[in-house]
Symmetry: C2
Subunit: 421 residues, 2 copies
């Protein structure tokens, strides 16, 4: 169904810029191929493709690749993405750290920094000062390699409105912080687009891009930390909702008789699947897995170790969290019918012990047979999903309008500051 | 955010057909306007617009309208949609009736038929026989007016897969019925696209089109009957999910301690907001409002009458259902952040008594302030929402490729049979 409110007009004057993007996106999505196969794949004629490829090469965005194998007739030279110097930046404020990552057009990470920071003890402006230092260091690092940023996207764990204001982030204790405006000043009013987005939304973009199988065009990310975040990709596009507040799944009520949540409501999903719920069920309060001074990786490693040893209490806690994951996931399956649910954050680390009970509960509670075909998978992106997604969003402007990288164009481009809609 | 898996290439050869659609959609979405203002609104140049308008007029899809008022300088002649003879057909199988509606390109209903039928006492093939008769009668009616169908969409209350098979419809008692294939044969293998879609999805399309305010680009329809159906429009597009099973909201669990549902699960949303829940709370079993031999309109009219008289039991029942509507709606608001929730079906008839308690519960349970800006409104489309949405989906192929109406093109067009994705 292509029902839609409208279709963009394509006039001669914008057609060529548009088609530069079509070819560049095609090479990203389908991998290196000959000009003849690009023509087949995009519906453009061969002469046009040759001319577009020449312009993209001149812009430094594509290059000649290997000879095409297995084709009938004389093998053609392939074209592949280049753009080693064209970067998108993703950056993140989390409860216990700030992070920054630079990705180039060839999908290579060319800079990554992460700094532990107890963000809850600092004022928002101080945290953003720290983040600005980290971003500046990353910029220096990529500049030393001759690369240049063409966009930056900040991920935060909370509600972000379309002006880039963090309306509410309970786990950071932040309210009404104009993150986009504050970072714009701190970065010296950069000439490229600056956006702010919910962190789980960015993780969803990273997950959908990590594996371009068709099922991932309809994907939900469940990001488990102290809270539980959600990011939704629907038919290949991020689902943001009317004001950018979609995916607030941590406070779905799953147990009206349950615990009181930090938000003041009762029986929210994160009270039974958040990190604290697992740790509380798995170990007594004086157990080292509760010690906030130890790295989370180490504490979760201990949970995995005990599960491997067959410790009954640990296994029971993991199964219980898995069952509750299935309860909430069934709601998402019934509403959204995703092709894949990706467990990220702490869920990805200990998830192998939770999958069986989660899948059973999900199947029992889904209306469509076999959970509507939905698979549950563990993220393989580790702690980088948010910054990786942010860098991809930042690069998207280049894929949409490759001519923007022409020297000087970035500084003439209209500044975009705000939410990423 | 325009993140997306890919962009369609626009080559010279398809550009003109594409742009015919751009102009036609623009006139639908923005209303009659001069060629100069179409050029402004679409980004096409004026000469191209004039030439496209001439071709659309030759196809009978637009015509000259009134002189433009209020413009600076000499008033220009406006162009408006025509296409009185170009129709889309929507048809529906419901629990107690079958229905069919023909809509032309000028948004005029040119034929509408509805027949009471206790579909649960008949085999699916018999019901589809009745529906085919109704469709044939509607076709005769529009043919007598010189109009022609360019697509037909069937709405059914159940899970429809992408091949147009009704996988499961508990309230009809149907399973694995290949509706698309069966209707294709019954209608004599028509040359235009034939699609099958969940009825609430079609209602959502009709509601989004009924008022083109921006908030309705992100809309949820709650259709209250014996069961409760859901249809979701996200960023102006129908959200179908990976296999077409999205919007199955009637069985969201809202009360784990609640009643056993017809589906075998416990505490499903429809056990507390479905028609039976209201009637049971409002009146004793021997009360006339329970009498299935009376028209539903009459029984709901009696509920409204008692509410107006201040009957305590009736008002309490309506408030209780309203409160539960708010509980489930909060889940949808947290996941989807819609701009509008539209209550349709029986909810629209008695909804004015439920809105206050629904809104209070919704606001209390939504994470975003003021329910993320979501409004709750009563449908004004009555019982026609599904067939109207079906007719709109059927007409969409004309808006996307207006040249398809050229005499003979429809019969040469590739046949589309299946779900409406």
């Amino acid at each position: 169904m292509a029902w839609s409110g409208g279709t963009a007009a394509a006039d001669q004057m914008v057609l060529r810029r548009h088609n530069l993007g079509v070819v560049l996106q095609h090479l990203r999505d389908d991998g290196p191929k000959s000009r003849a196969r690009i023509a087949e794949g995009t519906g453009l004629n061969k002469a046009t493709v040759s001319s577009l490829v020449a312009e993209l090469a001149e812009l430094g965005l594509v290059r000649e690749g290997e000879l095409e194998r297995g084709a009938v007739g004389r093998p053609g030279a392939t074209v592949e993405l280049d753009g080693a110097s064209v970067c998108g930046i993703g950056a993140e404020v989390n409860v216990d750290h700030v992070a920054c990552l630079a990705l180039n057009l060839r999908d290579e990470i060319v800079g990554e920094r992460r700094r532990g920071l107890d963000t809850r003890t600092l004022a928002p402006r101080e945290v953003l000062d720290h983040l600005a230092v980290l971003v500046a260091e990353t910029m220096d690092e990529i500049a030393a390699r001759g690369a240049q940023p063409f966009g930056i996207t900040f991920g935060v764990a909370g509600l972000v409105d379309s002006a880039g204001v963090l309306v509410s982030a309970p786990n950071l204790g932040w309210h009404d912080v104009p993150v986009a405006g504050l970072m714009f000043e701190r970065l010296g009013r950069p000439p490229y687009p600056l956006r702010v987005e919910n962190e789980a939304n960015l993780a969803a973009i990273a997950e959908a891009a990590a594996d371009r199988c068709a099922d991932r065009r309809d994907l939900v990310v469940l990001a488990g930390e102290v809270g539980v975040g959600g990011g939704i990709v629907s038919d290949g596009r991020l689902l943001r909702g009317r004001r950018g507040f979609a995916g607030e799944i941590g406070h779905l009520q799953v147990d009206p008789q349950g615990r009181v949540c930090g938000c003041g409501r009762t029986g929210c999903w994160e009270t039974v699947v958040g990190l604290r719920a697992l740790l509380t069920a798995a170990a007594d309060p004086d157990d080292a897995v509760h010690d906030p001074s130890l790295p989370l990786e180490q504490r979760l490693g201990e949970i995995n170790r005990r599960a491997e040893l067959g410790d009954a209490r640990t296994l029971s806690a993991l199964h219980q969290v898995g069952r509750w994951l299935g309860v909430g996931a069934a709601t998402l399956v019934n509403v959204l019918n995703p092709g894949v649910i990706v467990l990220s954050g702490y869920f990805a680390v200990v998830g192998s012990w939770m999958l069986e009970s989660m899948r059973a509960e999900l199947a029992a509670r889904s209306i469509a047979p076999r959970a509507g075909g939905c698979r549950v998978e563990l993220s393989t992106l580790g702690t980088s999903a948010t910054v990786l997604g942010g860098a991809r969003v930042a690069l998207e402007s280049v894929f949409e309008d490759p001519a923007m990288v022409r020297r000087g164009d970035a500084s003439r481009a209209p500044q975009t500051i705000g939410g990423s809609r």
